[in-house]
């Protein structure tokens, strides 16, 4: 043995509590990267033995067997067999099984033990099994399998020390357990698993009472749908209502910083760059952090509680109608946060055409980057009142409508695509409906932190760079003193926007918008920063510090223009990262180009129709 830390892979069925165990073992010391050549996430982290020696842990995607049905599962197989490019074969496996579902999870475990690597079994969620009336004998199971079996409760960090000790022991020992050879069929595996599970069970009551009772309500054809829609509705209302105080505080903080810089520096290039370019641009995007955190909080809670698969179940019938599957619901719902993880999550969809269609419509789901744009425009143009005496806010209702508009658009596009360019078999859906459980605060917080950090990193890099470049383009060349020509019109950006304006003027877009559309290609939320920067340059920095961007726009744009702008953002493919990830996931330029083309066409049409209708109704 070398002195390098042993590489240990966590492997098991989906819903075995693998990720919680990984979090519990590694804490926040995690590294997220991609496997080379594919876009499957490689999560690794450090744990340590009792005496402090390090362990290198990798968390493999959940699988049902070593015969892969999706890209994720290919990685799991390749790592276990030592065929994964860029990774050495693990020195040992920690097989995670759900104690309450041994009949099922022992099948994969048997196959894994048969691979001949040192193995420890984590008999996870043992507390839940007990709650469901299942009493197990870990020692008996260990004796039957010939490998150590350690009861664990990952979410309460119970059994972890024993697990690590058993792993240490297994790495030293030559014993390899009695699994089932690689070519065994599922029938043999299931029979053996059932026999083993029975032998290890001391006492059993037949049903999962809690899950059974909840599913009766949640999967009810009428009640279930009502609950799902209510949940989504509350989620979007909360994004607005809860975030406001935090967003206001952030806004105040940024304005104070700007005032500080204005006071400390003489008027000139540097002050302009910092106040308008840096603080004005990046600040106007960072303000949306509270809303993004709240949205992710809901998504993470739904995922961790087990409800997300129920949502997929309820949506499958509807999604089947447009040629998608309930499996696509989770990637599409994730796309509400960001299309990039959403598109990456489509790897779990086994059917190729189903997957491609899901990727192509994912950008129609309203991602969090559009939220700043929506929030700004809605805040500026829609009065903060309730609807007809009900406690429902009009602003939240419009926001809900925009999300709904995106969803309907996605379903319609999917329907058309499945009958034309991505024709093929109707996709199947087979999945496990896991047991409900209380989400663990630590896991949710870690997930929130990872998402928030990704957003802030983007704000600090792409958004920072584009706002500064835009500020330069807006500031130079300087309009001649006393000529009466507006600085924005005279600048380089103003001239480019004037060219673009010719194209977008028919759909009601003004010069401001034409200007904002250019940098918004980098990331949608930059549109807000661009509007802020442009209006700050026009106003001169002192005024801009005082005047809120929303009020400025409300004074300049017509309602019809504002609505058209919102409609544009429902469809516009304005994010280079999404296009890049689509290219990577579809292995070529054909599909991303197709996606960009159809989305621009739809955006133009939607904005146009909205504008013309609004003008006809006298809102112009």
């Amino acid at each position: 043995m070398t002195t390098a830390a042993p590489l240990v892979a966590l492997v098991g069925n989906p819903n075995a509590g693998k990720s919680s165990l990984f979090n519990a073992l590694t804490g926040a010391r995690q590294k997220i990267a991609n496997y080379p050549g594919v876009t499957v996430e490689r999560k690794s982290g450090r744990a340590s033995f009792a005496d402090g020696r390090p362990i290198e842990l990798v968390d493999l995607p959940g699988s049902y067997s070593l015969t892969p049905a999706s890209l994720d599962e290919v990685v799991t197989r390749d790592v276990v067999l030592g065929q994964q490019m860029g990774d050495r074969r693990p020195d040992a496996l920690i097989i995670v099984v759900d104690a309450g579902n041994l009949d099922q999870h022992l099948c994969f475990a048997l196959e894994l033990i048969g691979q001949g690597l040192p193995v420890v079994i984590a008999l996870n969620m043992i507390d839940m099994a007990l709650r469901d009336g299942l009493e197990l004998d870990a020692a008996a199971l260990a004796a039957e399998l010939g490998v150590p079996v350690v009861p664990t409760v990952a979410v309460r960090k119970r059994g972890l020390a024993d697990l690590v000790a058993a792993l240490d022991e297994a790495l030293r020992s030559a014993a390899r357990g009695s699994g089932v050879a690689g070519d065994a069929d599922q029938f043999t595996l299931h029979q053996r698993a059932r026999t083993l599970a029975r032998a290890a069970t001391l006492r059993e009551t037949p049903v999962r009472r809690w899950t059974h009772a909840i599913d009766r309500v949640v999967l009810h054809p009428v009640l279930g749908f009502t609950i799902l829609l209510t949940l989504l509705f509350v989620m979007f209302q909360a994004v607005y209502a809860w975030a406001t105080p935090f967003a206001d505080a952030l806004e105040g903080g940024i304005a104070a910083l700007q005032a500080l810089v204005v006071g400390a520096l003489p008027d000139g290039f540097l002050r302009g760059l910092i106040v308008e370019g840096l603080l004005g641009g990046v600040g106007s995007v960072v303000v949306f952090l509270p809303q993004i955190v709240i949205l992710f909080l809901f998504i993470l809670l739904l995922e961790a509680s087990g409800y997300m698969t129920r949502a997929a179940f309820l949506m499958d019938g509807l999604m089947a109608k447009v040629g998608l599957s309930g499996r696509g619901f989770i990637p599409l719902l994730s796309s509400f946060a960001c299309a990039i993880p959403g598109i990456m999550a489509t790897r779990a969809i086994p059917d190729a055409q189903d997957r491609l269609t899901t990727i192509l419509v994912a950008p129609l789901m309203t991602c969090s980057a559009r939220l700043p744009v929506y929030a700004l425009i809605i805040g500026a143009f829609i009065p903060a009142q309730t609807v007809g005496g009900t406690p429902i806010g009009l602003q939240g209702l419009i926001l809900f409508g925009l999300y709904l508009f995106g969803i309907i658009g996605a379903l319609a596009v999917a329907l058309v695509l499945r009958r034309t360019v991505t024709r093929g078999n109707t996709a199947g859906m087979m999945m496990e409906l896991p047991r409900y459980q209380m989400p663990r605060a630590g896991d949710v917080l870690l997930g929130l932190w990872q998402r928030a950090w990704a957003f802030l990193r983007r704000a600090g890099t792409i958004i920072l760079a584009t706002t500064v470049v835009l500020w330069l383009l807006l500031t130079y060349p300087k309009a001649p003193e006393g000529s009466g020509i507006s600085q924005v019109e005279y600048s380089v950006a103003g001239r480019i926007a004037s060219g673009l304006e010719v194209v977008v003027a028919p759909i009601g877009f003004n010069h401001d918008i034409a200007l904002a559309l250019i940098p918004a290609m980098a990331a949608r939320e930059v549109a807000v920063a661009a509007l802020a920067t442009a209006n700050a340059v026009e106003a001169g920095d002192d005024d801009a510090v005082a005047a809120a961007l929303g009020d400025t726009l409300a004074g300049k744009w017509s309602l019809a223009t504002a609505l058209a702008f919102l409609a544009w953002f429902v469809f516009a493919p304005q994010c280079i990262s999404t296009i890049a990830v689509t290219r990577r996931e579809t292995n070529g330029w054909k599909w991303p180009l197709f996606m960009v083309g159809y989305l621009f066409a739809l955006a133009y049409a939607a904005a146009g129709i909205t504008y013309w209708t609004a003008v006809a109704l006298g809102l112009g």
Partner: protein
């Protein structure tokens, strides 16, 4: 009572007597087997996805619940077992 799984009344327990593997493609068949849908296994039909369509179908096998499409369920022949055991 012998029927296909997609026609089994909800709440009713049944035993699988035959699966028409030819009606399923290779990957679908394998996933069904991995989920434990095999000859001789007992299951209970639990929920359907919607009022207006038959998809998908949730069934309980042992201590696990899985969702499958009606098309898959149609390929599975079952015989109902003692209705008292169903609840």
């Amino acid at each position: 009572m012998e029927t296909s799984l997609d026609r089994l009344p909800l709440g009713r327990a049944a035993r699988i007597i035959a699966i028409d593997w030819d009606a399923l493609d290779v990957a679908e068949g394998r996933r069904l087997r991995e989920l434990g849908l095999l000859d001789g296994v007992e299951l209970t039909a639990l929920h359907r996805g919607g009022l207006f369509w038959r998809d998908p179908l949730a069934v309980a096998i042992g201590r696990m619940r899985i969702a499958i499409r009606a098309r898959h369920a149609a390929a599975i022949r079952v015989v109902a077992v003692d209705p008292v055991a169903a609840e």
